[in-house]
Structures are given as C-alpha cells and as structure tokens.
Symmetry: C2
Subunit: 524 residues, 2 copies
C-alpha cells in the first residue's frame, strides 16, 4: 500500500470500528422511514399505529370494537395522544416488549389479513415520543374482571433495542378489559388532507362494525362515529405459504427446519394446497422419491424440487385468510359518511394471488349530488381496512386509477392524471401480506397482479357509474326541455287561438293535448 498517507485507516483500524447497529438506533436516525419526519405526520402516525393495534386486538378476540381517541394539546407543538379500546387487554409480562422493542409482535410470522404486520409501529411511536419529549409511553391494561388493571410506563433503550420499565402500578379502573396507551410527543395538529380527522373518518367507512369516539384538542364535545353494523367481519384464518410463491432459498430453509421426515409429508404439511396426489406429482417431476428424507436432500435436489413445483398444476391458495368489507357494507359505509353524494356503487372482486400471497380488491364510488363536478375525483386508499394518508403519488392504487381511460366512462381526464368529476373513489386491497413501499405503510408497491385487479374493479364500477352519469345527463336535458315547454306553451296557445280563432275552452284543450304529446315524446 504505497499510497498510504496519514489520516487514513488500515484494515485493522477499520475492523476496530465495525459493530452492531440496533434496529432502534437505525429507525431513530431514519425516522422518516416510519412516518415521523414532520410533526404533523408524526401525530397522525402515532394515532394510526395505536388505533390499528386496538382494532386488530378487538377483532382477534371477537369483540365489537369501541375505540376512544383523544388528543390533548399541552403546548403549541406538544401533544398527548390517548387511545383506549375495549379489547382483550395485554398480559402484563408482554407490555414492555410490545411497546418498547422494535420488531416484536405476533403478526409478522402469520399469513392472514391484519392491519399490523411488522411489529414496529407502536414501539416506534413511543420511541419518537421519548426522543422528542423524554417521556415514556404509558400503558393501562386489564385482561378480565378477575385480573388487576395495571399501569406500566415503558421506555426504549435504543442502543440495545430493549424495553426499560420506568414504573408500574395496580390501577383502579372501571373497565373489565381493554388497553389504553398514552404517548406524549412533539407534533402539530391540523385539519384537512392527511389529518387525524381524515384518517378517523375514513377508518369509520372501512370498518362499519367499529364505534369510534374522537375528542379533538379544541372541541367541547367528542365526535362519535356510530357503528353501521353489529356484526363482526368473518375472522380471517391463518394459512401456510403457497408453493408457487416460494423461492429456492426459502424452500431450502423450510426443508431444514421442517418437522416432517419424508419429502411427501413435508410438501403436504408445510404448504397450502398440496394434497398427497399433488405431492406425488411434484416428486415425480423432480425425479425424487416421495419417501426421501427431507433433511438429507442436497442443494441439487432442492433446485430440482423448486423447478418441479413450477411445472405442476396447484390450486390457488385458500382465501379464508382474507376478510373483505363486502359490497353491501362498503356501499352503506359510503352512504353514511358521504351525505352529499346521491349515487353509490361498489364491487368486491374474487381473490387473486401475487407472489404466492392471496389478495382481494374492492372498489366503492360515491357520485353526483353536491360533489364538485369540475375538480379531480377524490381518491381514498385502504389496505387491510386501514386508510392510507400519504404518498398517494407513489401508490399502486393511484397508478391503477390514473391508468384507466375514464373518458370511456363519461368523465374528463387530463393525461396521466385522476379523472375530473363529481366522484369519490374508494379502493381497498386486503391481503395476507400487503407489500408496502416503506415501513410507514403509506403506499402499496406496484405488483402487476395487484394493478390488474384494481383496474378491473374500477372498470366494473365505472360501467355502473357511466349508466348513472348518462341518466343524470338525460334527466338534466329533460329538465331543461320541460322548462322550455312550460315557458313557451302558453305563448303557442295564444298564437294558435289567434290563428285558428278558437274559444277559451278549445284553446285549453289543445294546449293540454299538445303538452301531453310533447311530454310523451320525452320518453320519461
């Protein structure tokens, strides 16, 4: 190394500086990845993570959710977010890990539709609060009438990504079960697009079974979103991975960690949709014995197996891992929350598959009424019933909407943009694994299968919408015609009486007949 100079490092010096980076340090420094880059967004993200968790917990426990969200303003940019649910509560021992450790949770390893999937969100919100105000996250919880309610304050040790219990006490709480989380943070409260208000209003639409109470910082009375149905959504079931979505490396990993001994058993038990017959076909195509010991198979056999899977016809994955809103509730939700529209249409597509993951697309549209006719359509995006508030431009849903030719459905559309017209569009994608474009879960990645399903659902709604828009136009034309008839008929009557020299009675009869004839011709 002849060019070596002072100020530079040798391999040994470099080695001395290498060390672990904890995932909390990583996200503390990269907090914009989690949605904490601006005070206004940080406030929304915190509310969102807490509400999403509350809803997941209630539904998993089979409880109709009753959620209270409160925002207290402590100083110009300092707030306390409080979210309380009537869910199953959290076992005391688990509270520190759930709220004080990133990448910890019950959802990541399970393939089924859930709002949370990463085990990052609520701990990250607490970490943001701690970084900006120094205050711990305070959790109250009770898991049943025969258990004590507890209050635990948790900090996160970002250097190690482990929770630190700041204090803990038994609480006198007038609730049998549920959880309440409070986070103090630097934030900014504003209404409009991307606000807590918009998020909660849209949550009510996509979750008609939820009772939501919202106490804003400057409102005297809380706003209550009443539930539209008392029926819980069907609980989504956990599924196993589908063979088509499994890459070679993952297959090899599964072969190493399986509890099955024989190849055929492994294929049947560790995957969905593999019957004994299908397992036999796969083994035959790979030229491997169904009774081969899985763990003794080498790299070459794994490659053969992986190639064989692609050649065998296997049923699509089961879709009971999904729990869509459904066409009726979707329409009801829109009708309830968008009073200014007058026509509603909705469509739930059959489930489809991307990279082995089942997903399902739903679209609802609210039309006409007093919605503005000369502005771009409003687009509401949802993933697993959670409204998405940011990064609309980078989302597969937006791409799908702008790629449809809306002129074909009687709407104007600037090139490559949202259509213009009195429309609110709601698109929901439900999946066992939603591919978000970032950890902040604000936009869906553009897998071609997903884009295609969204487009089809939009087009189906588009056709309904077009019928309505055409009828609306016809009615409007008609109203115009009718007003002309009513305006001019008396003058025509007058003129006819003069020309034909009719008396008053005959004139009246003639005018009535004429009006009838004209109105019949309008094909009402």
């Amino acid at each position: 190394m002849t060019t070596r100079q002072p100020d530079y490092s040798t391999a040994h010096e470099l080695a001395g500086r290498q060390r672990d980076i904890s995932v909390s340090e990583f996200f503390a420094k990269n907090r914009h990845l989690l949605g904490f880059d601006k005070p206004s967004k940080a406030l929304l993200t915190t509310v969102k993570e807490a509400v999403d968790n509350a809803l997941d917990a209630c539904e998993e426990a089979g409880i109709l959710p009753d959620i209270m969200v409160e925002l207290r303003q402590l100083a110009e940019t300092r707030f306390k977010v409080i979210v309380r649910d009537n869910g199953p509560g959290i076992v005391k021992k688990q509270i520190p890990n759930i709220f004080g450790k990133l990448l910890y949770g019950s959802k990541f390893h399970r393939l089924k539709q859930q709002r949370g999937q990463q085990g990052i969100g609520i701990s990250a919100a607490g970490m943001y609060g701690q970084l900006t105000t120094g205050k711990p996250t305070v959790i109250r919880s009770r898991i049943g009438a025969r258990h004590d309610a507890v209050e635990v304050a948790v900090r996160i040790d970002t250097v190690k990504n482990v929770p630190v219990r700041a204090r803990e006490k038994v609480l006198d709480w007038n609730r049998d079960h549920g959880t309440e989380v409070s986070i103090e943070l630097v934030g900014r409260y504003q209404k409009g697009k991307g606000s807590v208000d918009a998020y909660l209003a849209q949550t009510a639409i996509a979750n008609p079974h939820v009772q939501l109470t919202w106490q804003g910082p400057s409102e005297k009375e809380p706003l209550v979103y009443e539930r539209a149905t008392r029926k819980l959504p069907d609980p989504p079931r956990e599924i196993k991975p589908h063979p088509y979505g499994v890459e070679l490396g993952l297959l090899m990993k599964m072969m190493k960690s399986t509890r099955s001994t024989r190849l055929s058993g492994f294929l049947q038990h560790d995957f969905s949709r593999v019957s004994s017959k299908v397992a036999g076909e796969i083994c035959a195509a790979a030229d491997l014995s169904p009774t081969a010991r899985v763990k003794s198979l080498e790299h070459k056999s794994a490659e053969a197996l992986h190639k064989a899977i692609a050649t065998v016809k296997i049923m699509n994955p089961p879709t009971n891992c999904l729990s869509p809103i459904g066409e009726e509730l979707l329409r009801k939700g829109l009708q309830k929350e968008i009073g200014e529209a007058e026509f509603f249409v909705s469509r739930t597509r059959n489930p489809a598959v991307y990279r082995g993951n089942p997903f399902q697309v739903e679209v609802g549209m609210a039309l006409g009424g007093s919605l503005p006719a000369d502005e771009p359509a409003r687009l509401m995006r949802f993933a697993n019933r959670v409204p998405l508030q940011y990064q609309q431009g980078g989302c597969a849903i937006t791409k799908a909407v702008t790629s449809v030719d809306w002129k074909g459905y009687s709407l104007q559309q600037p090139r490559g943009a949202l259509p213009v017209g009195p429309v609110i569009m709601m698109v929901h994608i439900a999946s066992a694994w939603v591919p978000f474009t970032s950890e902040s879960k604000e936009a869906v990645a553009s897998y071609s299968e997903i884009l295609k399903e969204i487009r089809l659902a939009l087009q189906e709604c588009g056709r309904q919408m077009q019928k309505y828009l055409r009828r609306r136009k016809r009615v409007a034309d008609e109203m115009k015609k009718r007003s002309y008839i009513e305006k001019y008929i008396p003058h025509i009557g007058q003129a006819l009486r003069d020309i034909l020299e009719l008396n008053e009675t005959k004139t009246t009869r003639l005018v009535t007949e004429l009006k009838d004839t004209l109105e019949r011709s309008r094909k009402l």
Copy 2:
C-alpha cells in the same frame, strides 16, 4: 367478554404468539424496501452495494480506487456478480459479520460523508442471492503482502440475523491487498435507464479519481473508464453532533452515557462548535451551574438545557466532514463522459445545515452540441458521489429541478415538469447523513433546507446556461443572415451593375463594400 366466540383469542393466547422478528426476516419479506423487488433492479442494487463499499474502503485507506465489475450470465435469469477492488482488504474475523449480518458496520455511528451509512446493503444483496439461488456469498480478501489471502463463503441465518461460515480456505492470489465479492442471484440484465451500465457510467462522472473496468455478460472486451485525476478527494473528517440538531430525548441519552462529569465539559466535548464560552452561555440561559454533575440532572433540567440551546448563537457545524467533487472536476467529468455536448457549467455551493447535519450541493450541466433540443432535460442525481437510478419522481432533487422556472432561463417547461431542451443536469448532494426516502437509497427526502440549496445551485448554473443559449441563438441567427447575404449579394451586384451601368471592377468593389458594411452591422 360476553361476545367471545370460538376462533377467537384471549390475551393469554395472543401473548403466546408474540415473539422477536429478526431484521433479516423482516427485510427478506420486505425486500422491495432494499431495492430487490424486480430481477433487473436486484441486479443493479447488488452491483451498486458492492461498488459503493469498494470505493468507501479504498478512500478510507487512502488508496486510488481500481475497481473491476464483472457480470457472468449462468442461465436466462441467473447471474454471478463479481466486484473486485484494490482496497485495504478485510480482516478475516470480520468477513462473516460484514457479509452475513444486516445492520452491522463501521459507518452508521460516524458523522461524515460516506457512500454507505446503514450496514445493510451488501449483506442484503447476499441474502437476496441466497434466497433466490441457495448459494452463499463468496469473499476473497487480503490485507497485505505479509498476510495470507483468504476465501470465505458466507450464508446468513435469517431467523437469527447471524452469519454462517459455509467454507474457508487460504488462497493463492496475485494481489497484495484488496477484496473480491461474488454473489449468484436471480436477475435480469438490460441496458438503458436504471441499468448497471448507466450506473457505472455515472459513477465514473462523479468519481473522476476512480479507474473502473466493466465486463458485461455479452461483451468480448471489458469497457474501461479511465480516471481523470490521480488525486484522491480530501478525506472527510468525522464530526460530533451539532447542538441545534439534537432533540430532547437524544440530549437526555447523551447526558446519561457521557464520559464527562460536569455540564460544561459535557457540552464542550460531546458536541461540535461548543467552546467554553458558548457552554457558559447555554448553562446561564438554562439557569444551571456549569459545574453541575451531568448524570445527576433530572428531566426538568434537561428540558431547560434543551430550550436554552435554541436561544444561544452557535457557529454552524464544521464542514470538513464533507468532500464535494468540486467545480473543476465536475466539469471535467461531464466533458469526458458527455462528448456530444459543447458547453459545460458547474457550481459547488457553500455547505449548509439541515437538522444539525452539514450538507453541500453541487450542480453540473452539459449543454448544446448534438443533445436533443426537443426532449425533456436528462437529470442525473447523486448522493455522496453515488448515482441514484430509481424513484426519480419521489426525490427532492427532482422536486427542486421542476420547481425552478426554467422559462426564465430560455428553456421551455411544461407545468410542473422537467424543462425541455438540449441539457443534461447533474445534481450532487454530499452530506454527513443523507436522508434517503427508503433503505434502498434511491431518492432523497424533501427537507426544505436541501430543496433550497439545490434550487440556488440550479439557478446559478441556469444563468450561465442562459448566456450560452442566447449566444448560441445569436450565432444561429447570424449564420442564417450570413447565408442570406452570401446568397443574394451576387444578385444585388448584378442588378446594381445594370441599373448604374458599372463596369466589372467597379461592380466588384461595390459588392465587397456592401458585404463589409452588412457584416459589420452584424456585431460579431
């Protein structure tokens, strides 16, 4: 819980399912966050991570980088990426961690300009290779002529995020020092936008001190980007955090872990730009004694200290943590690689600060020549000398470019879009911490301070560009005029001779005088 039904879970059942998620599992499932969502992009990302690391290592060791990139096509969608450098090599013991563990490295905790900053990239590339082909990452390395060269094959245990050494041997290698990494992966090779070729060409522009050899999968001969200078960039120095960029929570953490005993010492030693005088001013403003024991200070004192910092005037952070390309090398680099242009301009702004982090913006432009005049300007984006290939739409650089009014600089510009004209724009942001919008480091987040600096640099170049474009227009007009003169003067001469009945000599003299007069009036 009266509504409880079968299929649902109690708090205890939920608790039983809660567990740690390793950061490797997390990114394996969310690989699109790291740039591995499509085979073509995965190929580029792998090359990029390896080359970025090679360049960082060479520069940190004070070695003029000589990098070889080779891509071997093994099957239609299967490739082997090989990147070899003449850097300092890697100490054998560290090889498994560096290539087989996410969130491990020497760069995350140091505030200075580097290409890598996360400790994720190259391990993630190896993990992607392993997931898609089952093959380990193979590393060859030697740290000096008196040491053995070694070859180590590393896998990553994604469940635990720890490296697994697959094999290791001593190697006969004809190099004194350096590192070579080989990754086999499922990929797709294509040229054009977002390709390995484009990335390497742009790397050569932003790193004129680098010798780059590129052996594509179907080329007979490698392509060599010769270095334009033999001078290494000034080595960036590590700096301490600036008080203005430190939030309350981080301040409290620093107060706990400091090696200083007294408050004044803590402020002086743990931050940049805090002299004894400034420390005294901060303490006074916080109403705290400079000799107070730091670790005995409570939350209230920390809050007072945090508020006090904002009220005291403190110098901007030192900027020797940055190493910009510089105006001259920027221009040279563009001239060398963009032969079709004829005018070059560049501008390096003074360093600025966002959230306590120093950063510096540079802009270069190549203009005219045979660049297409009726297409949108080509934009090349760079962060810490690394060309960014994806997510142009979501990048602060693009936002800054489209927000400039280019009509004011003699270019056409559709509303909200890139300007149209014979221009290639290159924007470089150098920072001790580049705020990327995702782990794949493809776009810069839109901090207002960064947007402002980019705009100013663009406008400064814009003014130079305008002068050139105006002159070009004048010359073009002139050429047109000259061609008219040359075409019509003989006819005029003929006409004058007939009218004035001149002889040949007098006509010639008149025509010459006329031509002179006309040409003088052109103000050449």
